[in-house]
């Protein structure tokens, strides 16, 4: 075999074997990764709706979840809010009480913020400051909520995403026959 065709064959083989190994690893880990994502979502919904014991995904909209207590009464609305952060999109689960019109919790599902700085939006002290805030609040970082030192852009991003997504979620919820 001459040199050129040997090069082609070797590269082809290396690529094919790597591809096969990767495909097998992916097939093997995929169910576990999906399961983790599912259970994380469930955990996040129940975390942001502290009064809820169960929840239902809203029909026609898989980003809205209605929480129920033990007696089957509606206790709140959870929704996925997303928007641009410092380096990539931030996805959050937000919970609110629709009758008292205030937030009951917020948790970060995924983000690409700088580890050690913007990534601190995941920390409890930061997330907990949004509890009990009125949904009409402006959430301005450094005024209404404390910002993360060294990560003003990430803090502002969270505030902006909340401010933009709350009316939209509420609208979607009400037009689909909620209270």
């Amino acid at each position: 075999m001459n040199n050129t065709s040997r090069m082609v064959v070797v590269l082809l083989l290396v690529g094919a074997i790597s591809g096969l190994v990767l495909a097998l690893t992916f097939k093997w880990t995929e169910p576990m990764i999906n399961e983790i994502a599912q259970s994380n979502q469930k955990k996040a919904i129940l975390e942001v709706l502290p009064k809820a014991k169960s929840y239902k995904t809203m029909e026609n909209n898989n980003q809205l979840f209605i929480g129920y207590d033990d007696n089957g009464n509606e206790v709140g609305l959870a929704f996925i809010a997303e928007g641009g952060g410092f380096q990539g999109d931030i996805r959050m689960m937000v919970g609110m009480d629709t009758t008292e019109e205030k937030l009951t919790g917020m948790t970060v599902l995924s983000h690409l913020e700088t580890p050690g700085l913007g990534a601190r939006i995941e920390e409890d002290w930061f997330k907990d400051q949004f509890n009990e805030k009125s949904i009409e609040d402006d959430f301005i970082a450094k005024q209404d909520v404390e910002a993360i030192t060294g990560a003003t852009i990430s803090s502002n991003a969270v505030s902006n995403i909340l401010k933009n997504s709350i009316p939209k979620a509420l609208d979607a919820y009400r037009t689909r026959g909620g209270k």
């Binding site: 070797v10 690893t25 983790i36 580890p115 050690g116």
Partner: protein, 203 residues
């Protein structure tokens, strides 16, 4: 014993970070907390060991001209396996390091060891070399992470150590802090090894 020698050289004498200054991108970028440095070091260790062994096994079948692309494909495969494996079994650590794991592919330490060592040495030495280099890289990153976390956040591995009156020096968890810490450490280590060699030569 040569096996031991190949392992031990990576720990100090040819330490990737403090002696060879290789893999500076992860060294500077992820070491703003001790746990990040440790986890990055361990992930790199895994990829380094697997790819060095595979490359040492197949080295005779790969034509010289396509060795770099072949090595990169092997390395990238192990990086993706490590990423998927961590996502399935250690989702918390994977979440912290998420962005940096794919970057292991371009860590020149790994390609450097493949090119300089694994591609012209027997499998057993390649394994020991990769283990030594990986452990050396891991302790270097952890040390940087500890120093930056203590000064920048007042904690080690998330545990508060500096007391309530300590004002964190935010600069140490920001990018400039990485350069400052690494520079000072390199200076200290250089002064130390210089002294040692000059003393040794006197006797």
């Amino acid at each position: 014993m040569r096996m031991w020698k190949e392992f031990i050289k990576g720990l100090w004498k040819e330490n990737a970070v403090f002696r060879q200054l290789m893999g500076m991108c992860p060294t500077l970028a992820v070491t703003n907390a001790a746990i990040n440095g440790l986890a990055m070091g361990l992930a790199t260790l895994f990829v380094l060991v697997c790819s060095s062994v595979i490359i040492a096994i197949v080295k005779n079948y790969i034509p010289d001209k396509v060795r770099i692309p072949s090595f990169i494909v092997v390395i990238a495969t192990f990086v993706t396996i490590a990423d998927l494996f961590m996502a399935a079994f250690f989702p918390d650590i994977q979440k912290v390091l998420g962005l940096f794991i794919p970057l292991i592919v371009v860590n020149c330490l790994i390609l450097g060891r493949a090119e300089a060592f694994a591609s012209n040495n027997p499998v057993k030495y390649a394994l020991m070399d990769a283990l030594g280099m990986g452990v050396g890289f891991t302790w270097a990153l952890t040390l940087l992470g500890i120093i930056r976390e203590v000064l920048g956040m007042g904690s080690i591995f998330g545990i508060e150590v500096m007391g309530v009156n300590f004002t964190p020096w935010i600069i140490f968890i920001l990018p400039p802090g990485a350069f400052i810490t690494l520079g000072i450490l390199l200076g200290i280590f250089n002064a130390f090894s210089k002294k040692k060699t000059s003393e040794a030569s006197c006797h």
